[in-house]
Every structure is written in structure tokens, then in C-alpha cells.
């Protein structure tokens, strides 16, 4: 009798305990354009296995029993992939359901859709379809449930992984600052830090620290995009239609904690556990390297993942070879490489720290370093491919040189002897394009588009290999010096979305203000409000306002227009450029605008003179700026132009000193 009862209890426990996970197949961004033009991001290959398979493999290892795969783009491709995978076989440890909603454009939409469909019965695990991890989820789920008992409003446990500020497992745009109540592991503060803003200053509300005995504040953890959600998460998304991303959700919950009666908990992974979301090229590179170096064990290439695939062989120097690979005797493969099955490598070729897909043909004397070559590519003789991603079925003709963050979309044919460090795709886009060969077009990313943050090749290079700088100055340079170089590199570093938007807005305001003769005080108000909207630091504001003014005049009769505008906008400048650090920003803007062939160059002296006479710029700051300029070879021209003014300044100074003597 009692035995029967206990068995019944066990059964009910079991049905309750089905661990459910929601996998979102799309990352809702175009970080991987042009690769994601016709393939959803979760089907991109990472170490020759697509990201979705890595995610599902991990979930099945981690104790998840039922998975809802949420698709919104290119649903057929995801369906077909899943149908051919081991996850739909009878013996599969996972029950996989596909949910389709083609209208979803953000994670928030997806959550609202899930809420409407009412498929989720209890706590669930929310992950992106591009997660690579080896974490066991059950302890985290258990902790979430335990905390739920003491805190009924607990909505989500956010999973963090340690990665120090310059850690290889971390992309610069993922910098976050987290404050956690030590006792209850409740999240009190969670903010993404903009790389553009002042890194050294952090604002934490006092009330967070005031009423608690101990608070931990971290800046050396990254958000793994893994979260354990209570049932209440879905209705919360539905009620707050302005929650678009997970970030919005966390921010909104922390701000309106009382109103929404919900809280967030944190979970910090131990050193032995690995988790990362591949949502950008830097992360793609990092995770690939980590997998090759086996941090993701047991998710490593030589542990057979798919039954249709041949196993990989693991060799010295972290080299993985899949059967059958044909390597010529004089080829060099070393330092962390993966070579897919059916690939051939010709005489004298070297492959270092790279991944080569299946059925690739690599010719003679080819150099491949730090690159990712996907399935079915043909690389002809004497090519050099460095820090490049080559999509599926590309052809790179003889002696082509691809370098520094070049990305070739699927099926691009790169002409012989071609040099490139840009993104190419195989078909012309909707808008303007530049053709450089048969089925090879340069991808033009719309700069006004808020989702894209890519300009010149330099920025893509930075994006793909952000740690390069770190690698270069390993030879004992101190932190202080690298910080300094960061400041001087400001013109090179990628401008972030928000600051770019802010800049555009400032330009619009100023243009309109000048045309309609608006009062400067009103313009200052406008600029300040946009500043708050985009959360731009004061230093950036100073820099961008001056830059905007200097860029405003039309190209013909540039200087005359500039002087008019300058006198008109003088109150604005006086408002912003108040202290020495603002003056430094102002001069930095001047330096950036007055490039070697710009029309600003001849006007530099007059500009400096006007601001000096208006007491906006002080003598000391100008002299300091000039001495910095002299050491910088790139700003030779501006240095030459500014020299007479500096000379005059120095003389004036001497005179005044003489007089005082």
C-alpha cells in the first residue's frame, strides 16, 4: 500500500521535474553578415560543427529533457538540419519541439509569442542557439528553486562566467559591471559598460550599498546569456512590451523592482565550467580557440558528436584531423588546428592556429594563419590568408592576399592576385555595391543602421581580433602605458552604436539650429537630452560636439562658412568646453577632423586663435597638445600648420614672463 503510494509520488515528481529549455535559434542581429544572409546564425559552423548542435549536445549532457527550439528566420533550413540530425532519432535523449514564428524581430517578441502559445509549464532554461558550454545545469536549477522558496518574486537566475578584463574569453562590447548581495545572491546592479565611455569611473547608487551588510561588486565576469527563468518571466515580457532584449529585461526589472515585484539572482560558474555565447566575431574566435585548447571538454572535436561524421584524431600541438585528410609531406600544421575530412593540403603550405572545413582544397605554398575556412573551399597556390573568415564553397584564386579581418561570404570567388581586407559576398546586395570580380561584391553596411557598427576594414579587423594589441605589447609593458595607448588610439577604435547615433543627432540639431537661427541655449538643451538618451559620457559629448561643428560646413567655401558658424555657436562651445579635460577633448576633435587632405587644415591656426582669444582654450593645454602632436608621426601635417601659432604663443609667454620679471 505505502509502496504504491510512494511510487505514485515518484511519478508525479517525475512529470514535474521534466527539465525544459528554450533555445532561441536566431541572435536577432546582423553581427555575422554576410554569412547570415541565407543561413540563420545558429547554423554557422564552429570547428566544423554547427552552433546549434553544440548547444543541443551540451543541453542533453547537462540533464535537459525537453527542448523548444524557437525559430524566426529561415525556418526551413533549421527544420531540415534538425530532421537530419541525431536529435530526432528515436534514441535521442532530448525531446525536441520546433516553434515557428516568422514575425519575431527581437528576443522580447519571441518570449511574448511563447507566452501566448502557453507551452511552458514550469521553470525553464533560456539559452541562445549559439551557446557552447559544458556546465551542468541541474545544480543551477536547484539553486534557483531553493531561492524561489525564500523569494517568491524571483524571476530569473543569470549565469556569469569569470573572465578578467583582458581575458581571451571576453569581447570588448561585453564588459559588464555587476553588484550582488553576498548573502542572498540577488542582483542589485547590472550594467553594460560602453567601451567609449570613461572606463575608470563607475556610478553605483548609494542605496544599493547602504542597507546591506555585504555587497560584492564585480567587473571581471561576463554574462553567458544563459538564464534560468521562472514561469513569471513570460508574462513579464508580455506586460512590458518595451522589453526587447534580455538586457532590457534585466535593466527594467532592476529599475522597477518594487512595481513588478520581481527580482533577479546570480550564479557564478566555477573555474572548471565553461560557457560562452557566440554572438560576435571576437567571440567566434575566442570560443574556437578555447574549444581547440579543450576548455570545453567533453565538447571537443575528437569526441564524436554526430553519428554521420567520422571521428577526429587528436595529435600533438592541439591538432585535430578528421579521416580522410591528405597532407603533403612538406606541409606544416601546428599550434591548434582543425582539418576537416576530405581536405587536401598541398606542398609547402602552412596552416597555423586555424580551422579548415571538410572537403577543402588547399594548393601549394599557401599560408593560412589565425583564419577560419569553412567547408568546400578551394584555395589556389601561393595565397596568403591571415585573420580571415572564408565562407562555405569559396574559391580564392592564385596569389590572392586576404588579411586583417577579411570576411568572405558563402560562394565568393576571389580573383587572382587580389588583395583584400573587407567583407565580400557572392551576390550584389539591394543597395549600392562594388563589384571586384565574378560573384564577389564588397558588402556595404549601411552606416545609419543602428545594428551595424562596421565602417572601414580597420574596424572589422579590430572586431575580429581585438586582443591583437594585447599580444603585441606582451613584452613587459605596464598597464599604465597600454592605457595611454588606448587614449591615443581613440580615432582608430570602433565608434559604438550609441555614440554614433548621438553624433548624428547632434549634427542634425546644429544644422537645423543654424538654418532656423535657433537660440543656442535651446540647442544645448537638445544636445543634453540626446546625451541622456544615448548614455554618452561627458568627454565623448565634448569631442563629438566640436567634431560636429567642424564637419558642418559644405565643402565649397568651407572656411568662410566655418567662421560664421563658429561665431554663431560660440555660446555652445563655451557651455561645454569649461575645464582642461574638456579642452583636451576639443583639441582631439580638431586633430581628428584636420586630417592630411581635409579642408580644415589651413584653418587650424585661425580656429586655435579664435578659441584662445575667447578664453575657451588655455595656453597650457594647447602647448601640451602640440608637444603630444609632435611625437605622433601621423599628424605631421597639422603639426606643421599649427607651428606658427605655437611659436607666437611661446613668444607671448616669454614676453609676459619678462614683463613680470
Amino acid at each position: 500500500m505505502s509502496r504504491g503510494k510512494s511510487k505514485k509520488d515518484l511519478d508525479s515528481l517525475k512529470t514535474e521535474d521534466v527539465v525544459q529549455a528554450v533555445v532561441v535559434a536566431d541572435n536577432f542581429s546582423d553581427a555575422f553578415v554576410p554569412m547570415t544572409n541565407d543561413v540563420p546564425s545558429c547554423l554557422l559552423p564552429l570547428v566544423n560543427t554547427c552552433l546549434l548542435d553544440h548547444t543541443l549536445e551540451w543541453l542533453s549532457n547537462a540533464g535537459v529533457q525537453e527542448v523548444f527550439l524557437f525559430c524566426s528566420r529561415q525556418v526551413d533550413k533549421v527544420r531540415e538540419h534538425v530532421r537530419n540530425s541525431k536529435w530526432t532519432v528515436e534514441t535521442s535523449p532530448l525531446l525536441l519541439n520546433i516553434i515557428v514564428s516568422e514575425t519575431c524581430l527581437t528576443l522580447g517578441d519571441a518570449m511574448r509569442d511563447l507566452d501566448a502559445k502557453g507551452l511552458i509549464r514550469g521553470d525553464f532554461i533560456l539559452v541562445m542557439g549559439d551557446t557552447v558550454a559544458n556546465v551542468n545545469l541541474l545544480p543551477i536549477l536547484e539553486k534557483h528553486r531553493r531561492l524561489q522558496k525564500s523569494d517568491k518574486g524571483l524571476a530569473m537566475t543569470v549565469v556569469y562566467k569569470y573572465a578578467g578584463p583582458s581575458h581571451a574569453g571576453r569581447a570588448p562590447q561585453d564588459d559588464i559591471l555587476v553588484a550582488v548581495d553576498k548573502k542572498t545572491s540577488k542582483i542589485l546592479f547590472h550594467q553594460k559598460r560602453n567601451a567609449g565611455s570613461d572606463q575608470r569611473k563607475v556610478h553605483i547608487p548609494m542605496e544599493i550599498i547602504m542597507d546591506r551588510p555585504s555587497v560584492d561588486i564585480y567587473n571581471d565576469f561576463v554574462d553567458t546569456q544563459i538564464s534560468i527563468c521562472s514561469v513569471s518571466v513570460l508574462p513579464l515580457f508580455s506586460d512590458n512590451f518595451d522589453f526587447q532584449t534580455r538586457e532590457d529585461f534585466i535593466k527594467g526589472l532592476l529599475i522597477n523592482e518594487e512595481i513588478l515585484a520581481s527580482s533577479l539572482a546570480s550564479y557564478f560558474l566555477s573555474d572548471r565550467e565553461y560557457a560562452a555565447s557566440v554572438n560576435s566575431w571576437p567571440m567566434y574566435k575566442n570560443v574556437t580557440q578555447n574549444m581547440i585548447h579543450r576548455w570545453t571538454y567533453p565538447l571537443v572535436p575528437d569526441m564524436l558528436m554526430s553519428e554521420t561524421e567520422k571521428p577526429y584524431q587528436y595529435l600533438k600541438g592541439n591538432v585535430y584531423k578528421q579521416h580522410p585528410v591528405t597532407l603533403s609531406r612538406s606541409s606544416i600544421i601546428e599550434d591548434g588546428c582543425v582539418i576537416g575530412g576530405g581536405s587536401k593540403v598541398g606542398e609547402g603550405s602552412s596552416i597555423i592556429r586555424s580551422v579548415v572545413g571538410r572537403n577543402c582544397q588547399i594548393g601549394k605554398d599557401v599560408k593560412i594563419e589565425d583564419s577560419f575556412i569553412w567547408d568546400g573551399c578551394i584555395i589556389e597556390d601561393k595565397c596568403s590568408i591571415v585573420k580571415t573568415v572564408v565562407g562555405c564553397n569559396c574559391i580564392v584564386r592564385q596569389e590572392a592576399i586576404l588579411s586583417q579581418g577579411c570576411i568572405l561570404g558563402q560562394g565568393v570567388q576571389c580573383p587572382a592576385k587580389f588583395r583584400c581586407s573587407q567583407r565580400l559576398q557572392s551576390s550584389p546586395g539591394d543597395e549600392e555595391f562594388e563589384q571586384i570580380g565574378e560573384s564577389a561584391y564588397i558588402v556595404k553596411l549601411d552606416n545609419d543602421d543602428s545594428d551595424s557598427d562596421d565602417g572601414g576594414p580597420q574596424q572589422i579587423w579590430n572586431e575580429l581580433f581585438p586582443n591583437e594589441k594585447f599580444d603585441d605589447d606582451v613584452d613587459g609593458e605596464s598597464d599604465a602605458s597600454s592605457e595611454l595607448s588606448d587614449v591615443s588610439d581613440r580615432s582608430l577604435s570602433p565608434v559604438l552604436d550609441d555614440t554614433k547615433l548621438f553624433y548624428n543627432e547632434v549634427v542634425d540639431s546644429l544644422k537645423r539650429g543654424f538654418e532656423d537661427k535657433l537660440h543656442c541655449d535651446n540647442l544645448v538643451l537638445e544636445i543634453n537630452s540626446s546625451r541622456y538618451a544615448y548614455n554618452v559620457s561627458m568627454g565623448e559629448v565634448n569631442l563629438l560636439v566640436v567634431k560636429a561643428i567642424l564637419n558642418l560646413p559644405e565643402s565649397d567655401s568651407f572656411l568662410t562658412q566655418l567662421w560664421q558658424m563658429l561665431t554663431y555657436f560660440m555660446p555652445i562651445l563655451k557651455n561645454y568646453i569649461k575645464n582642461p579635460s574638456a579642452q583636451v577633448d576639443c583639441l582631439q576633435a580638431l586633430k581628428e577632423v584636420a586630417g592630411p587632405e581635409s579642408e580644415m587644415l589651413p584653418g587650424v591656426v585661425k580656429f586655435l586663435n579664435i578659441l584662445y582669444n575667447q578664453d575657451i582654450l588655455s595656453e597650457d593645454v594647447i602647448l601640451k597638445w602640440y608637444s603630444d602632436l609632435k611625437t605622433d608621426p601621423e599628424s605631421k601635417d597639422i603639426c606643421k600648420v599649427a607651428a606658427p601659432f605655437i611659436k607666437w604663443l611661446e613668444e607671448a609667454e616669454e614676453e609676459s614672463e619678462d614683463e613680470s620679471d
Binding site: Y162, G164, P298
Partner: protein
């Protein structure tokens, strides 16, 4: 038999088994071995075979699949070899019955017969009645042998461990654990356990020995050399015994064996017969021979400034050459390393050495 095209050819249970082993859900050589045997038995029971050749082809294909998918688990392929041998024996016995019909079959094969007999083993295509049931029965017997193998080894403990001896062992091995426990029931002796980083399984063993009231000391690998001169015997388990009598054993075994050789301490290896493999170690194959886990036991992921500069390896196994080993103790008794080849020829048919 197309082995390259695995899908469809391989029984889905085998795929599940491979995944389970890779994910660590099924671990420990005795568990993996008995699971494999179970699967092979199931395969034979479920399959339709018109003759022995077909049966052997199926077993061989699956054995090859397992061997390729789990290259570091030699005992898996060994099981396939043993089952093949069983099929051969049953076939020979069955066809002899058909041939001799009324004649009395001599169960003992004399040396003369072995030498003079024409090898009929090349042809397995003729039909033998009750082959399947015979094979399954034989496999069940073999299963029994597997189950008792650890006990059989432990039974010999008293012959090797004497009173007041100091025994050194390393890592965690169930055979060694039961061997020492058995000896402790009658004798009093001390055990030194080497922890074996980075997994430090030795601590587990030490805890369990301590619970059975054995005087146990835990040391690090670096102390092995210093302490070896005081040790009377080294008793270790192993992952695999290679065809030349060498070992594939948990890393740091080689160090211990070298130290023992230097101090002339006997090294005794406890190895159930299923750990004997007809494979040799090729010098160019060192890396395929070993297997590597995540480097987090050696170096923390958070040691970030050094990560990009350092190559990290975390090998699981060591190769110990046969000249460092004094004696193997299997479930059938003690053997010298030079005798392993003879055991192999008894266990497996030479045609099955290459899977």
C-alpha cells in the same frame, strides 16, 4: 560490409552506448566491458544469421565501429574479439558433431591433432544448427567469468602481501582496492597512496582503505622517489595491457615504475584478462594512444595573461614499458610480462587481432 558508412549498419544501441561513454555517463573499465558484452549478446540474439560467417561479419563490423569510436578503450574491441573466438569455437564444435555424427568427439585436443589438423577455420559458411543458442550460452558463461574476475584476483592477495609490508599504489582502481581489502582481512600492512594529479583519484582510494582500517598514507607524485626505498612492493591497476606486456595506465605510473626499478622494488600489476589487447604501441602513435581532458586541472582558466602564451596538455595515460614490470596477476594466476603473448593467443584468434 561497408564499415565507412556507419549509419544504418550500426545498431542504434551502439550509438547510444558510445555517446554515454564519451559523456562520462558510463565509466570504469569493468562497467564498459560488461555493457559491451551485453550489447554484443543482444546483437546476436536479435539478428538473423544464416551461417557463422554472417554472424562474425556483423560482430566484426560493430567491433570495428566501437574500436574507431572509442580508441582509448581497448577492452571494448577485446570483447568483440572474445565473442568472435566464441563463435569460432562453437562453430568448430557444431560442425564436428555433424561430421562425426555417431562418433564420440574427443573433448581434449591432443597436440598431435592440433599440429596435423587441416585448418578448417577458413570456411564458416556452412549451416550449423543451434549455433546461435550455443553462442549465447557460451557468452553467458563468459559473462560470469567477467563478473568474478575481480574476486578471483583478490583471492590471490594473501600470496603476495605479507605482514608488516609497505605497499605503494596510485590512483583509484577497484581491483587494487578489493585486493588490498582482502589481504587486510588476514594481515597487517601499511599502504602509501599516490594521489595522481590532476584528477587526484588517489584520495578516493585512501578514504575507502582508511574506512576498512588499513594504515594509509597519501603522498604527492613528487614524493614518490624519496619514499620508494622504504617500499616493499608496488601494486597498481592498469587501463590496458599491451601485446608486448607494456601498460597503458593512469599518468604518473611511469614515474612510479622507474623509481621502483631504481630501488629494485617489485612492480605487480593487477589486470583481469579482458584488459589484454593484441595492440602494440607505435612510437609515432603516442598521441592517438593517449587521451587528453580539459586542461583546467593543470592551469586555471582565469590565469588569463598567460593563456595565449602557453600550450597546455592534460594527458590521462602513461605508457609503461614491460621491462619495468615484475608480474601480472590476472584472474587465472600470475604471469610474467614475457608470457603475455601466449595468453593472447589463448584468448583471441590470430585472425581477429586486426579489427
Amino acid at each position: 560490409m561497408k564499415v565507412d558508412d556507419w549509419k544504418g549498419e550500426v545498431h542504434p544501441h551502439f550509438l547510444g552506448f558510445v555517446t554515454a561513454v564519451k559523456q562520462g555517463k558510463c565509466s570504469g573499465s569493468s562497467e564498459i566491458t560488461s555493457k559491451t558484452l551485453d550489447l554484443l549478446k543482444q546483437l546476436i540474439a536479435d539478428g538473423e544469421f544464416s551461417n557463422a560467417q554472417e554472424m562474425m561479419d556483423t560482430i566484426r563490423a560493430h567491433g570495428r565501429f566501437l574500436h574507431k569510436a572509442l580508441p582509448s578503450h581497448a577492452s571494448v574491441a577485446n570483447m568483440a574479439r572474445r565473442v568472435l573466438k566464441i563463435v569460432r569455437e562453437e562453430y568448430a564444435a557444431g560442425s564436428k558433431i555433424i561430421k562425426n555424427k555417431a562418433e564420440e568427439v574427443d573433448p581434449q585436443e591432443s597436440l598431435h591433432k592440433i599440429v596435423t589438423s587441416v585448418d578448417s577455420g577458413e570456411d564458416y559458411s556452412s549451416h550449423v544448427p543451434d549455433l546461435k543458442s550455443g553462442v549465447i550460452e557460451h557468452i553467458s558463461e563468459f559473462e560470469m567469468e567477467l563478473e568474478t574476475s575481480i574476486d578471483n584476483i583478490a583471492q590471490q592477495a594473501q600470496e603476495h602481501i605479507h605482514s608488516n609490508e609497505i605497499i605503494l599504489t596510485l590512483g583509484m582502481s577497484h581491483v587494487v582496492e578489493s585486493f588490498l581489502r582482502k589481504a587486510a582481512a588476514h594481515r597487517k600492512f601499511a599502504v602509501i597512496v599516490v594521489t595522481c594529479g590532476p584528477m587526484r583519484k588517489g584520495q578516493e582510494l585512501a578514504v575507502s582503505l582508511g574506512k576498512s582500517k588499513i594504515n594509509t598514507t597519501v603522498i604527492e607524485e613528487r614524493a614518490v622517489w624519496a619514499i620508494m626505498s622504504r617500499v616493499n612492493k608496488v601494486i597498481i591497476g592498469t587501463h590496458t595491457v599491451m601485446a608486448n606486456g607494456g601498460l597503458r595506465a593512469i599518468s604518473s605510473c611511469h614515474v612510479v615504475a622507474l623509481a621502483a626499478k631504481h630501488c629494485s622494488v617489485p612492480v605487480i600489476v593487477l589486470a583481469p584478462l579482458y584488459k589484454l589487447t593484441p595492440q602494440y604501441l607505435c612510437s609515432y602513435d603516442q598521441d592517438a594512444f593517449n587521451s587528453y581532458t580539459a586542461p583546467d586541472g593543470v592551469l586555471d582558466f582565469s590565469d588569463h595573461p598567460t593563456l595565449s602564451q602557453i600550450k597546455r596538455y592534460c594527458p590521462v595515460f602513461d605508457y609503461v614499458p614491460p621491462e619495468l614490470i615484475t608480474l601480472f596477476i590476472s584472474n587465472t594466476g600470475g604471469h610474467a610480462p614475457s608470457y603475455v603473448y601466449r595468453l593472447l593467443s589463448e584468448l583471441y584468434h590470430p585472425d581477429d587481432y586486426e579489427m
